[in-house]
C-alpha cells in the first residue's frame, strides 16, 4: 500500500482497515492483561468482565472480515494489496484466538474458588503474559510498518516463553507429586500457562504474514517446536 493519485479511496479504505486491526489487537491485549491480573487477585468480577468482553472481540473480528471481503469483491486487489488483505484475514483470526485464551484464563479464575494466594505461580504467569504481549505489540508494529526484518526476529522470543511455561509446568508437577497442591488446581494453572504459551505461537503466525506481505513468501518462522519432537 502506498500513496497514489489513482487509488485514493481504496488506499483510505485499506488504512481504515489497518486501524481496525490495531483496535482489535489492543482489545485482545487488554483482555489478556486483565485476565492474568484478575487471576492473581482472585477477582471474579473482573474475570466475568473479560469473559463477557470476548463477544465484542469476536464481533470486531467479523466486522473486519466483512470489510476485507467487501474490498476484495469491489476493488479487485492485486499483488501486495491482495497479500495485505489475505494477511489481515489470517491476523484477525489469530487475534480472535488470543482473545479466546484470555477468556479461557478468566474461566479458570472463575473455576478456582477459595484458593490461597500463590505468589510464585502468579509472578511467573505475569512474566509470561508480559513477554507474550510484548511480542504481540512488536508483531503488530512490524505489520503496520511492513517491516519484514523486524517480523523475522520476533518469533525467537518464543523460546523464552516456552521455557517459562516449562518451569511452571515442572513446579506444579512437583507440587502434585509432593502433595502440596491438588491435581485440579495445578491442572487449571497449567492450562492458564498453556494459553499464554499458545499466545506467543500466534504472534509468530502474525509475523509470518508480515513477511508474506513484504516478500510474497509464506514460510514458517519458528519451526523449533515441530523439530524438537522429531529429534
Amino acid at each position: 500500500m502506498s500513496p497514489s493519485s489513482t487509488r485514493e479511496t481504496f488506499d483510505r479504505n485499506m488504512k481504515s482497515l489497518l486501524e481496525h486491526v490495531l483496535v482489535l489487537g489492543s482489545m485482545v491485549e487488554q483482555a489478556v492483561e486483565k485476565s492474568v491480573a484478575a487471576l492473581k487477585r482472585h477477582d471474579h468480577a473482573a474475570a466475568r468482565r473479560v469473559y463477557a468482553g470476548d463477544q465484542k472481540i469476536n464481533e470486531k473480528r467479523y466486522a473486519i472480515e466483512n470489510e476485507c471481503v467487501a474490498l476484495i469483491a469491489t476493488q479487485q486487489p492485486m499483488a501486495r494489496d491482495v497479500r495485505f488483505l489475505a494477511a489481515i484475514l489470517e491476523i484477525i483470526t489469530e487475534l480472535e484466538r488470543i482473545g479466546d485464551y484470555a477468556k479461557g484464563i478468566a474461566k479458570i479464575n472463575l473455576l478456582l474458588v477459595d484458593e490461597p494466594d500463590d505468589p510464585s505461580i502468579s509472578r511467573q504467569l505475569e512474566q509470561m503474559a508480559e513477554l507474550s504481549l510484548s511480542m504481540l505489540r512488536r508483531g503488530l508494529d512490524a505489520f503496520v510498518a511492513g517491516d519484514a526484518a523486524a517480523a523475522r526476529v520476533i518469533p525467537a522470543d518464543d523460546d523464552a516463553v516456552d521455557n517459562m511455561y516449562n518451569r511452571i509446568y515442572q513446579e506444579l508437577t512437583q507440587r502434585m507429586i509432593d502433595g502440596t497442591t491438588t491435581v485440579d488446581y495445578a491442572n487449571h494453572l497449567m492450562w492458564a500457562a498453556h494459553n499464554l504459551e499458545r499466545l506467543a505461537d500466534r504472534v509468530s503466525n502474525i509475523c509470518e504474514r508480515t513477511v508474506y506481505v513484504s516478500t510474497g513468501n509464506l514460510k514458517e518462522l519458528d519451526p523449533s517446536d515441530d523439530l524438537t519432537l522429531l529429534e
Binding site: 487509488r7 479487485q76 492485486m78 499483488a79 501486495r80 494489496d81 491482495v82
Partner: protein
C-alpha cells in the same frame, strides 16, 4: 509455403515428444512505424496450448507485438519488423515463407466482431472452403465441419436452427463466437485475440472467457487485453508491457499468471496491476 517441423504430428504428440518446444518465440523483436520504434528488444517464449495474456497501458505496443505473430503488421505500409519470430521453431519472416499460410495457421480474432455479411453457415464454411477443405474419404462433410466448429465455439445450440440467417443478425457476443468458429474452421494452431471481449457485455464476456479456457485444450491462445481481471481469470501466463522513456514498448515481466498477479517481481508491474501510478 511454410514447412512446419511438426507436420504429421498432432499437437499432443509434439507436446509429449519435446517438452521444451514453444508455440512462438521472439528474439530481439523490434517493430517500427516509419522512423518510430513502437516496440523494442522483445524476447518472449509463448507456451504451447496455454492461454497467454499480454497486458499493459495504452500505447505500449501490445497489439503491435500480437500482430507480429502472424505478420499482420505487413498490411501497414510503414511498418518494419526486425529480429526473429519463430512459430514452432520456424522463422515466420524467412524469405520463402508465405504470409497467407502463416495467417492460416495463426488465426486472429479482433476487438470488434466482424462476421461476413453472409449466413452463419457460410461464415464458417467459406474460409474452410478457400483453404482447401475436402470432404469424404473418412473426413467430415462440410456440414459436419461447420457443426463441429460451432460446437467448439460454444455457439451451436444457439444457432443450429437458423444457420441460413445472416451472421450479422446475431448479438455482439454471438457474433464474436461466430468469428472464433470461423477462425477455428481453417484449422489454426494458434489463435491471437486482440481485446476480444472489450465490446461485449459482462455475460457475453464471461462466455468468451470460458470459451478461451476450453479452446486452450487444443490451441495456443494469445490474448491482448486491457482488462486485468480478465487476464487474471483466463490466462496461464501473463506478459506485462510498458512504454520506455523513448515511448517504445518493452516487455517488463513475463511469468505464470498467479505469480504476476500475487507477487510480481518488478515494481513497474506492481504499480500497474495495483492501479497506482504515483
Amino acid at each position: 509455403m511454410i514447412q512446419i517441423a511438426t507436420q504429421g504430428l498432432s499437437r499432443h504428440d509434439l507436446a509429449r515428444q519435446d517438452l521444451t518446444s514453444f508455440a512462438v518465440e521472439t528474439r530481439d523483436l523490434n517493430i517500427y512505424y516509419g522512423s518510430f520504434r513502437a516496440v523494442k528488444n522483445i524476447n518472449l517464449n509463448i507456451e504451447l496450448q496455454k492461454v497467454t495474456a499480454i497486458i499493459g497501458p495504452s500505447g505500449c505496443g501490445k497489439s503491435t507485438v500480437l500482430r507480429a505473430f502472424n505478420r499482420m503488421n505487413e498490411l501497414v505500409p510503414t511498418a518494419r519488423t526486425e529480429g526473429t519470430v519463430r512459430f514452432m521453431s520456424q522463422d515466420i519472416y524467412a524469405p520463402d515463407v508465405d504470409p497467407v499460410e502463416v495467417r492460416r495457421r495463426i488465426g486472429m480474432v479482433f476487438q470488434k466482431p466482424n462476421p461476413f455479411s453472409k449466413s452463419i453457415y457460410e461464415n464458417v464454411a467459406w474460409g474452410a472452403g478457400l483453404n482447401g477443405f475436402k470432404e469424404g474419404l473418412g473426413r467430415p462433410t462440410m456440414d459436419e465441419w461447420v457443426e463441429k466448429c460451432l460446437h467448439k465455439a460454444a455457439l451451436w445450440d444457439e444457432v443450429k436452427d437458423k444457420l441460413n440467417q445472416s451472421g450479422l443478425s446475431l448479438s455482439g457476443g454471438q457474433q464474436q463466437r461466430l468469428c472464433i468458429a470461423r477462425a477455428i474452421a481453417i484449422r489454426p494452431e494458434i489463435i491471437l485475440m486482440d481485446e476480444p471481449a472489450s465490446a461485449l457485455d459482462p455475460i457475453a464476456t464471461l462466455k468468451i472467457e470460458e470459451l478461451m479456457r476450453g479452446l486452450a485444450k487444443e490451441y495456443t491462445i494469445i490474448v491482448v487485453t486491457h482488462n486485468m481481471q480478465q487476464a487474471a481469470r483466463v490466462s496461464d501466463y501473463t506478459a506485462f508491457f510498458t512504454m520506455d522513456n523513448d515511448r517504445a514498448g518493452i516487455l517488463v515481466e513475463y511469468g505464470p499468471t498467479n505469480q504476476i498477479f500475487t507477487n510480481p517481481k518488478d515494481p513497474r508491474t506492481e504499480s500497474y496491476i495495483t492501479g497506482r501510478f504515483g
